[in-house]
């Protein structure tokens, strides 16, 4: 690609993504507060799987809300959560994706707050969640910074990560926000809160939000269940507003191409979410030539293989050149 790409391997975490960093912290906090039950929302299922895992480990009851649409496209993760002893409840309102799962989790939580902790899965929601979740993920940035200094002798030129609510991105950014590295968050084109949003207040925080002229929240649309969210964590809106980070968006087709590219060239099958960040790097390779780019590989792609099988031709792995045919008509 003509640049030096460093991958922060959050995909190697137990349960397959960065989500476990946040979940373990919150689950311990729940126990400390005397709560016996965790409630969570999940999009791709990775946060749900991580929450179910922590609940199993700590002997807590666990209920995970998931949009009906996402339960279909991430069926593997639904079964994983159930294996781990969690109850998965489908959110059937609105767009039946992440936003609606959050609504349902909040409704559960207000009714059960005496026994339940809401283990929110991204850097959003009411205070103190955005701050707490960022602190629990800053380990990503702290580790990456130390590793970069060993490998490069300095910070990288660019730090990039995908952004749904923005937890993996804020985690890696927090290691570099005080330095000189350019910070680039990558949103899906169909869920670009900063790219297409205006300020709004939903789910307990004020941030950029995709909404209509009347303030009705729009439905995001993305190939990736984990990024299918019309809002973004408030700290990202702040970083964008002060010009410290910038936010790009990529299309589903670019993401599929990046998914195939990393699989074929590095032997790493990424989750569709971090494939967004790679898709941007791939598109911007000219601009990035000769630079060092740190990418947060927030999760692995096992959960997405089934969905990709439906989208790519039966022998999609041999279409050559790392590019997908990008034919939406064939998506499953």
């Amino acid at each position: 690609m003509g640049l030096r790409l460093l991958l922060k391997r959050e995909d190697l975490n137990h349960t397959g993504s960065h989500k476990i960093n946040n979940v373990l912290g919150q689950a311990l906090l729940a126990v400390r507060m005397g709560k016996t039950r965790l409630v969570a929302e999940t999009g791709a299922g990775q946060h749900g799987v991580a929450t179910a895992t922590a609940a199993a480990l700590l002997g807590l009851e666990c209920v995970v809300y998931m949009g009906e649409v996402d339960m279909e496209r991430q069926a593997l993760n639904v079964f994983r959560m159930q294996l781990l002893g969690a109850e998965v409840r489908s959110a059937v309102s609105g767009s039946r994706t992440l936003k609606d799962a959050i609504n349902e989790a909040m409704r559960d939580w207000v009714a059960t707050v005496e026994s339940s902790h809401y283990c929110l899965g991204s850097v959003m929601g009411p205070h103190p969640y955005p701050w707490m979740v960022r602190e629990l993920h800053r380990v990503i940035g702290d580790e990456a910074r130390e590793q970069c200094r060993q490998l490069l002798g300095s910070d990288p030129d660019v730090v990039t990560a995908c952004v749904g609510g923005g937890s993996n991105a804020i985690g890696i950014f927090s290691g570099f926000v005080d330095g000189d590295a350019a910070l680039v968050g990558v949103e899906p084109a169909g869920g670009a809160a900063i790219g297409r949003g205006v300020p709004g207040v939903v789910h307990g925080s004020k941030s950029f939000l995709m909404q209509d002229e009347h303030g009705q929240v729009l439905e995001a649309e993305s190939i990736s269940a984990g990024l299918d969210y019309p809002g973004i964590g408030p700290e990202h809106s702040h970083l964008a507003a002060i010009g410290r980070a910038r936010y790009e968006s990529v299309t589903d087709d670019e993401v599929v191409a990046a998914f195939e590219l990393l699989s074929r060239t590095e032997g790493i099958i990424p989750a569709l979410e971090p494939a967004h960040a790679l898709a941007w790097v791939s598109r911007a390779r000219g601009e990035l030539a000769g630079q060092s780019v740190l990418l947060n590989l927030s999760g692995r792609g096992d959960k997405d293989v089934d969905q990709m099988m439906g989208r790519l031709a039966p022998d999609g792995g041999s279409s050559g050149g790392g590019s997908s045919n990008g034919d939406d008509g064939r998506s499953g």
């Binding site: 009714a111 059960t112 004020k206 002229e213």
Partner: protein, 258 residues
Amino acid sequence: MSTEPGALEAALRARRSQGGKALVPYLTGGLGDWQAGLAAAADAGADAIEVGIPFSDPVIDGPVIQEANDRALADGITPLAVLDALGRLDIGVPLAVMTYYNIVFRFGLERFASVLAERGVAAAILPDLPLEETGPWAEAADAAGVETVLLAAPTASDERLGRICARTRGFVYGVGLLGVTGVREELASSAVVMAGRLKQVTDVPVLVGVGVGTPEQAEEVCRVADGAVVGTAMVRRMMDEGPAAVGELVGRFRRALD
């Protein structure tokens, strides 16, 4: 703080000083023949009416009011259309709009407050706007002469209840249980407890809502509270049977409270 009470608070205080209990039904704006529903409710003895401005993500609402919001939005209702309709309505009882903060934020705080005042709407209820964040809206509302009704949750400390009651206008909305709107088999014990705790700290009318679904439950909570807000039961009636049935149900609540 010592300003004249607004139209909503005046009506509720008048009911109380006559030894009565206040009845405030809720209907979702834009749902079917909702304006006829409001008129029927007023005729049947409502002291004031709460009118929902539909929102895409009504997180404090259970399935029935969610469905009402979705249906009204699918029929193309907008915030301004609800307010304009309220402005043309002349049903003789104070109106309070209930909606979510993003609707108001997007509309513009000052503009929303002044449109409410121009359309003759007495008050606003914004359940997802916590006390700590109420300032800018409440100032705009005060300036326009619009009452801002605050909610008090069962989890709030007495100290917090005091601060909520000091800032609320119109009445204080005691949330009857931990949970979302919806009809329950029985009145939660928390409803009466909530009413009692609020009565201890304020002279502002104390109304309890959320989980008050039958005339018997309203009567029970009003042994302590100054009144009740009834939402889901009204909306269910509106969706299933229409405005006349809403009037009939309001009448039954009225008789139970009198």
